[in-house]
């Protein structure tokens, strides 16, 4: 049997990738909190030591690595949809984040990134 290429798919893949990133992007929800911001990332199976969060201006960037692991001896992939390897996601928030205090918390496969901005304290509506 031969290895074959689906040329139309290549074109489509290339076209959608023209402005895209090389790494996979975890989905994210953004919340406004009384002390700043809370960003929730869908990040199951990623170790805490493989995650890095940085802020620059009004941007928050999450990057890291999801590694697969062997479930048990003698098992091999029948199919694969989960994205592994390097990921990166940059989000723009409507305020300056420099100097914000960053707290990370993992919960049931979700990463919570809390940005506590100095002097910010909103009343609960």
């Amino acid at each position: 049997m031969q290895d074959t290429l689906n040329q139309r798919s290549v074109v489509f893949g290339a076209a959608i990738h023209l402005g895209g990133e090389t790494y996979w992007r975890p989905a994210a929800d953004i919340y406004r909190t009384r002390t700043g911001w809370l960003v929730k990332y869908d990040l199951a199976g990623v170790k805490r030591e493989d995650i890095e969060v940085t802020v620059k201006g009004s941007q928050i960037t999450l990057n890291g690595f999801r590694r697969d692991w062997r479930l048990e001896d003698g098992c091999s992939h029948y199919s694969m949809e989960i994205s592994y390897n390097r990921f990166e996601r940059t989000l723009e928030l409507p305020c300056d984040l420099e100097g914000a205090q960053i707290k990370l918390e993992g919960r049931d496969g979700i990463l919570l990134v809390r940005l506590i901005c100095e002097g910010e304290h909103r009343e609960q509506s």
Binding site: M1, Q2, D3, T4, L5, N6, Q7, S9, V10, V11, G13, A14, A15, I16, H17, L18, G19, G20, T22, W24, F65, R67, D68, W69, R70, S76, H77, Y78, S79, M80, E81, S83, Y84, N85, R86
Partner: protein, 303 residues
């Protein structure tokens, strides 16, 4: 499997007739047993990484180091599914450009010792000019090859700010020959890469425009003949409706009558009858119609 010098050893996936560029996705159906083994080895790793490299000769089934280009692309397997016929469907994402240093057999597949070959990143006014020029050529060519998607693709091309990514996106769209795609991957500078792409696109555009011209001419020639045929059919229908013989038929009848009355040598008569039979079958618009009629009239007027 990284070393301090950034050397890595990864399973190798040789591919035919195509090059995987960094940042590009490539769907592939993998069927060769050694390729399947290489994919499975990569899937069993934490990072799902594999080296994708083009074969110099597609006819070679088990390529050695010399059968492969020395520059390839490190890729991550994004998706994989097994088909009932035993093929593996995979989607690969090119990540880094790499140099193959060494190949070694590991069971059913080959592994390669690789080192990164970072992509060039220089910027200049010339590069900006080249990028725009390449974009313009691509938009013109796409209008001919994919008119239904041309608007959307043209917008993406115009908006693309990264020169290398633009070239890597365009190359598979135009199905460039393997040697050309490989030269783009190996280009040492952004300007070199853009210049190569510009020359390939300019040539491609010439061919596409010529093909389009030929197709248009053939279409217009067919339309003219179809129109004449239709008009002749209509004319015959009108004459039939009016109960009259059409002018060409009456002309042929007149010539036949004159031929019967003419005192001609046998050989000349035979030739004249043959030509008259031909005239009956010719449409009056055909250039031969007038030549044949004039020839017959000349024969009949000879003393």
């Amino acid at each position: 499997m990284s070393s301090p010098e950034n050397l890595q050893t990864l399973p190798v996936l040789p591919i035919k007739h195509a090059v995987l560029f960094p940042s590009m996705l490539m769907p592939l159906n993998v069927g060769r047993p050694s390729s399947i083994a290489a994919i499975e080895a990569a899937l069993a790793s934490e990072e799902k990484e594999i080296v994708v490299v083009a074969q110099r000769d597609a006819a070679v089934d088990s390529p050695s180091l010399t059968d492969l280009y020395s520059i390839g692309t490190k890729a991550v397997i994004k998706k994989m599914a097994r088909r009932a016929d035993g093929l593996l469907e995979v989607v690969l994402l090119g990540v880094d450009r790499v140099v193959l240093l060494k190949l070694e057999q590991d069971g059913a597949y080959q592994k390669a010792r690789i080192k990164p070959l970072p992509l060039p990143q220089e910027k200049s006014t010339e590069i900006e000019a080249l990028r725009r020029e390449v974009g313009e050529l691509a938009v013109r060519a796409l209008a001919l090859t994919q008119p239904q998607a041309a608007d959307r693709l043209s917008q993406l091309i115009t908006d693309a700010k990264d020169s290398l990514r633009l070239v890597y996106t365009l190359a598979p769209m135009f199905s460039l020959e393997l040697e050309k795609e490989q030269a783009l991957l190996e280009a040492p500078t952004v300007a070199d890469c853009l210049r190569l792409m510009h020359s390939y696109l300019a040539q491609e555009l010439q061919v596409l425009e010529l093909r389009s011209k030929i197709a248009n001419e053939a279409q217009s020639e067919m339309s003219r003949e179809q129109r004449e045929y239709l008009l002749r059919q209509q004319l015959r229908a009108i004459q039939k409706e009016l109960g009259g013989e059409n002018p060409e038929q009456s002309e042929v009848s007149l010539l036949r009558e004159r031929l019967e009355k003419a005192d001609l040598p046998e050989e000349v008569r035979k030739e004249a009858e043959r030509e008259l039979g031909r005239l009956e079958k010719l449409p009056p618009a055909a250039p031969d119609y007038h030549v044949t009629r004039t020839y017959l009239e000349f024969l009949l007027e000879l003393p």
